[in-house]
Every structure is written in structure tokens, then in C-alpha cells.
């Protein structure tokens, strides 16, 4: 469910929804170059759920998805939210109790 936002091609390529086809191809090519050279910051991108990691595979996948016009229009709808650098923090949940089984006498190994 979160992938609708974190894997959306517009966020992965970091381009506006109004970008033209040549602009998309140019951004994808420059990202692939930067990833290949290990440019600092190229491996990270922002999404509405916070920062995520990108690699050459995800860049190619995003470029391919945006080449088809009807798929692109659907992604445009999903890419309507602004990005944020801090992830949305879920409500704090109690941590698991890994030693629970031993403490309650169910693990002796």
C-alpha cells in the first residue's frame, strides 16, 4: 500500500508531473550516470512518506512506466502529494519481548 507513494515514478525520478518526455529521459540518464559514479545523494529521493533509496533498477522501471501515456496519467494522480524529508512516524508501538519465551519457561535451548 505504501508503495503507491514510495515507488511512484515521479517521486523516483524526482520530476514534476508536467515534465515532457525528453525531460524525463534526460533526468533518467543523468540519474543513471550519477548512480554509476556513486555521486553523493543520487541514491536517495524524497516521497510523501519520507526518504527512500533508489538504484539503477528502480530508475529504469520508473522511466519505462512513464513512457506509456495511460500509465503515466494514473501515476500523475497518485503523485499529487508534496514530498517530505521526515518519514511519517507511526504511533509508538510496544517493542516485542524477545526473551519472553525463555522468561515464561518455554525455551531451554
Amino acid at each position: 500500500m505504501a508503495q503507491r507513494f514510495t515507488k511512484d515514478p515521479f517521486y523516483v525520478l524526482d520530476v514534476p508531473r508536467t515534465a515532457t518526455k525528453p525531460e524525463l529521459e534526460a533526468v533518467a540518464a543523468s540519474l543513471l550516470d550519477a548512480l554509476a559514479q556513486g555521486v553523493r545523494g543520487a541514491a536517495r529521493y524524497l516521497t510523501p512518506l519520507g526518504e527512500r533509496r533508489r538504484d539503477a533498477g528502480s530508475v529504469n522501471e520508473a522511466t519505462h512506466a512513464l513512457r506509456e501515456a495511460d500509465t503515466r496519467i494514473v501515476h500523475e494522480v497518485w503523485a499529487g502529494l508534496p514530498v517530505r524529508s521526515r518519514a511519517i512516524e507511526p504511533a509508538p508501538a510496544p517493542a516485542p519481548w524477545p526473551g519472553g519465551e525463555r522468561a515464561l519457561g518455554w525455551r531451554h535451548r
Binding site: 503507491r4 512518506l49 495511460d70 494522480v77 502529494l81 511519517i88 508501538a93 519457561g105
Partner: protein
């Protein structure tokens, strides 16, 4: 003189037990599991009384004239009590020593607490001893499993089966088998077996961090042990339901292994109290999603907020309804539709703007179907049946139908003489769990279709267990479930069939 009176009293009690039945034949079938359990209890009671009489006689005969007639009798009793109550030796000596085979053989002598399932109780004793060993021994596990096949499966046998699976590393099977104890009729399920199963399930859920599941499980149990009461109270407090610190401390003081559970107590105590929710769940669906300037932004913001939650946390039906309402508004918005249509014309795509909106709706419905599944049992509280939520129910139905059909075919395949009732029961409890989870948000018509898919296979399996394997308890549990479901989906013919089976089995 006093001892003579004791002996005479014991003989009189024995005679009384012999001549008077403990239960009326009207309320209890003498050949049924309850009748057999009562008979075993009678025999143990009579044996205990006879033992007291024999010890009294012996002490009178040998040492009565010494002037200290009580001490020899008490010593003799202390030596002989384990003969009529072997569980004392098994629990205090053989299980801590890890002597699995000896524990099984001694526990097989019968007695409390396994009146309702003597063979299963003996195997469970062996399994508990086996769990104390430092290494898992496949040969020993196979030996114990073979002992289970020698008699009918009862509640204690099922617990043994589940713990053997856990010992072998198959924790999923252990979970479903131990949780299935709720379906077994109480006449063939010793209360101690139930308590052991709950203890294991609670420890397992705490280890996985499934605190919501743990709280639900402990709340459903009418007789929690001190341990489960402690872990349940600590879990409730950690989840912020307002359990007081003093309650947790009292539970900890009353529970065993206090030193080991100190960490849990500390985690529960330092959890800050959670205030009363500002918005009640019933009001949630009526609220606007952050008052966004465009409906689509409101729906997306809400969608992102819910997507950021971990999938293990249960979702409230009101949250799902609120998201569905936001999407209904967004997808019906003329601004969005016009914008999509304009982009479609700009790119000259074959698909129309309406078709592209339908694709977005399908994706939203798929996500909502996941949330509906995440609601668990609470999905019954979903009241809306319009727009995108209706579509989500359809998506959910299509997905679960395929899975349930596949699982029920596995139950049908377990009617193999070589597989045995244990394998059939494991397959059944898996199907049952999948079915219950799947049908909660469905309407009656959809539920009836899913029911008809599993009913035939499970009916054949129950008939096989009843007629060929004499596993009345397991078949009865299946029939009870199928009866309840037949009534729910208004399948009159099936309900009549299972009602007859259940009445015959009682």
C-alpha cells in the same frame, strides 16, 4: 482407636463410591467421554481412599502398640500417594529431568489431571519433558507422535501435537493447532491442557510483539493462569488502554517466575498513560481529511497516513470508511475527472478519461481490500456498502475465494489412512482460520458462495473421522462449525444435516 475409626470410615467411603453413580444417566451418557472421565475420576478417588485404609491397617498392625500411631501412617501415605496420583512425580521430577519416555509411561497410569484425555495427557507430559532437553531429538519426537496415533485425539493430544510442531521449528502449525483448542468440546479437553496451550500462545505472541493479538486471546479465555493474567495486563497497559500500574504490579506479585518477568513489568510500568481519544471512532468517518483544497489531495493525504502504519497494527473499520468516503468524493470530483480527461486528450491515448479514473478506483479498491483484511474480526463493523468500498469488498471476495477453494481441497486430500486424524485436523484448522478471516467483511450472498466451496470437502472429512477413525470429538467440532455457518448463510438443508449430526454426537 482413632485409626480403627479412620480405617472403617475409608472402607465405608469405598463401598459408597462403588454402589452410587456420581452422575445421572439422564445428564450424562455412560459410554460418552464425560461418562468415561467421571468413571476414571471415581476409580482414582476409590484407589486413594483404599490406599488410606491400607496404610491405616498396616500401621495399626505393625506399629499400633508403640503409642505413636499417626506417624507411621503418614509416612506410608507419603510414599504411596504417587502410586494413585502419578502426575505428582511426572510434574515435579520427570518433566524437569527431561525424561520424556518415562514421563509418558508414568503419566499413562492415569489419574488427575488427564481424566478427559489420558493418552493425550501422557504424550503431553512426555512432550513437556522433551522441551526441557537441550537439543531437539527427531527420534524422540517421532516416538511421541506415534504414541498419539495409538488412541483417539483429545484436547491434551492436540496440545502435544502443537508443541511437537513448535519443537520441530514449525511455529505456524503450532499456533493454529493450539488455537484450535477452543473448538474442542470440554468433555475431551482437560483444563490443564487448555492452560498450557494459552501459556504457549501468549509467550509466542509476546515474543513476536503481537500485543493486540495477545490481549484479544487472554480476554477470550475465561480462566487465565497467573502468568497469562500478568502478560495480558502488561500488554493492555503497553497498548495504552488505561490499565493501572497497581493492577500490573499485583498480577506480577501473584505470578510465578517473578525474577524472569521483571523486564516485562518494567516495560509496562514506564509506559506513559494514554489520554482519552479526542475523536471517537464513530465520528471519524464524518470528518474531512485535513480540509484539503482539492478532494484528491485530501484522499491522498489520508491514504498516505494510513499506508505509513505498520501492517501488523489492526485497523479500525471507521478509518477504512473514512478513507473510502474521501476517495468517493475525490473520484467523483469534476475537477479531477476533467483534468484526467484533458491529459488523455493531450497525450492522445486510446483509453478514455473515465477508463483511467476506473483504473485509479481499482487500485484504491485493492488497497482498501487489504485494509479490510487488516481489520480482522472488527470488519463486521463496516456499515458502508457503496462506492469504492463496495468495489473493495468485491476485490476481497475474489481474492479469498481462490485461496479458500485451494485450502479446502487440501482437507479433502487428508482422508488418507496413512495421514491419520492429526494431519486432517491440522489441515482443517488452517482452512477454518483462513475462512473466518476471509468472510468477515462479506455479505450473506458472498459468504454463502465461500461456504459452499468448503462445505463438501469438510463434510467428507468429518464423516471419515467419525465413521472410520472413531474420532468423534474432532468430527463433532467440524460439524458444530459447519452448523453455525449454515445457519448464518441460511442454508436450511445443510443446517438440518449438521444439527442431526451434532445431536447424535452429544
Amino acid at each position: 482407636m482413632t485409626e480403627t475409626l479412620v480405617v472403617l470410615l475409608c472402607v465405608a467411603v469405598c463401598a459408597g463410591v462403588g454402589v452410587s453413580p456420581l452422575a445421572s444417566v439422564i445428564s450424562c451418557d455412560p459410554q460418552g467421554p464425560r461418562g468415561r472421565a467421571l468413571r476414571r475420576a471415581e476409580q482414582q478417588f476409590a484407589a486413594a481412599v483404599m490406599l488410606a485404609a491400607t496404610c491405616g491397617l498396616l500401621s495399626l498392625w505393625l506399629l499400633g502398640k508403640s503409642g505413636r500411631p499417626w506417624w507411621p501412617m503418614l509416612v506410608l501415605l507419603a510414599v504411596c500417594v504417587p502410586l494413585v496420583h502419578p502426575w505428582l512425580i511426572v510434574r515435579r521430577l520427570l518433566i524437569p529431568l527431561g525424561a520424556a519416555r518415562t514421563a509418558y509411561r508414568v503419566a499413562r497410569l492415569g489419574g488427575h489431571p488427564w481424566f478427559r484425555d489420558p493418552n493425550g495427557g501422557a504424550v503431553l507430559s512426555g512432550v513437556l519433558a522433551s522441551l526441557r532437553r537441550r537439543r531437539h531429538d527427531e527420534e524422540r519426537s517421532r516416538w511421541l507422535r506415534a504414541r498419539l496415533e495409538g488412541d483417539r485425539l483429545g484436547g491434551a493430544g492436540l496440545v502435544a501435537l502443537g508443541l511437537l510442531a513448535a519443537d520441530a521449528g514449525d511455529r505456524d502449525t503450532a499456533r493454529v493447532v493450539l488455537a484450535s483448542l477452543d473448538e474442542i468440546e470440554t468433555d475431551i479437553c482437560p483444563p490443564l491442557a487448555r492452560a498450557i496451550a494459552l501459556d504457549w500462545l501468549v509467550a509466542d505472541a509476546a515474543g513476536r510483539g503481537a500485543w493486540h493479538e495477545l490481549v484479544e486471546r487472554v480476554a477470550d479465555d475465561p480462566f487465565p493462569t497467573p502468568t497469562t493474567r500478568l502478560v495480558g495486563a502488561a500488554a493492555r497497559r503497553m497498548l495504552g488502554d488505561g490499565t493501572a500500574r497497581t493492577t500490573v504490579v499485583w498480577c506480577w506479585l501473584l505470578a510465578p517466575r517473578r525474577l524472569h518477568t521483571l523486564g516485562l513489568l518494567w516495560a509496562a510500568l514506564r509506559r506513559p498513560p494514554v489520554g482519552v481519544a479526542a475523536i471517537e471512532p464513530c465520528d471519524l468517518a464524518r470528518l474531512a481529511a485535513n480540509a484539503a483544497p482539492e478532494p484528491i489531495l485530501g484522499a491522498l493525504a489520508l491514504h498516505a497516513e494510513i499506508a505509513a502504519q505498520p501492517a501488523t497494527v489492526p485497523v479500525l473499520p471507521a478509518v477504512v470508511e473514512r478513507l473510502a468516503a474521501a476517495w468517493d468524493v475525490a473520484l467523483g470530483d469534476f475537477g479531477l475527472r476533467g483534468g484526467v480527461r484533458g491529459r488523455a486528450e493531450l497525450f492522445a491515448v486510446a483509453a478514455s478519461g473515465e477508463l483511467l479514473i476506473a483504473r485509479v478506483q481499482r487500485a484504491v479498491a485493492h488497497d482498501l481490500a487489504l485494509l479490510v483484511a487488516q481489520c480482522g474480526r472488527q470488519a463486521e463493523g463496516l456499515r458502508r456498502d457503496t462506492g469504492v468500498l463496495r468495489r473493495a469488498r468485491e476485490v476481497h471476495f475474489e481474492e479469498v475465494l481462490e485461496g479458500v477453494v485451494r485450502d479446502s481441497a487440501v482437507v479433502g486430500g487428508k482422508r488418507d489412512p496413512e495421514m491419520g486424524p492429526a494431519a486432517a485436523w491440522i489441515a482443517w484448522v488452517r482452512v477454518r482460520a483462513a475462512y473466518v478471516e476471509a468472510v468477515v467483511p462479506l455479505d450473506v450472498a458472498q459468504r454463502a458462495i465461500v461456504y459452499s466451496e468448503i462445505e463438501l470437502e469438510v463434510r467428507h472429512c468429518a464423516a471419515w473421522l467419525w465413521n472410520e477413525r472413531r474420532e468423534r470429538g474432532l468430527a463433532q467440532a467440524m460439524c458444530l462449525f459447519l452448523l453455525a455457518e449454515a445457519e448464518r448463510v441460511r442454508d436450511v438443508e445443510a443446517a438440518a444435516y449438521y444439527r442431526h449430526n451434532v445431536v447424535v454426537g452429544l
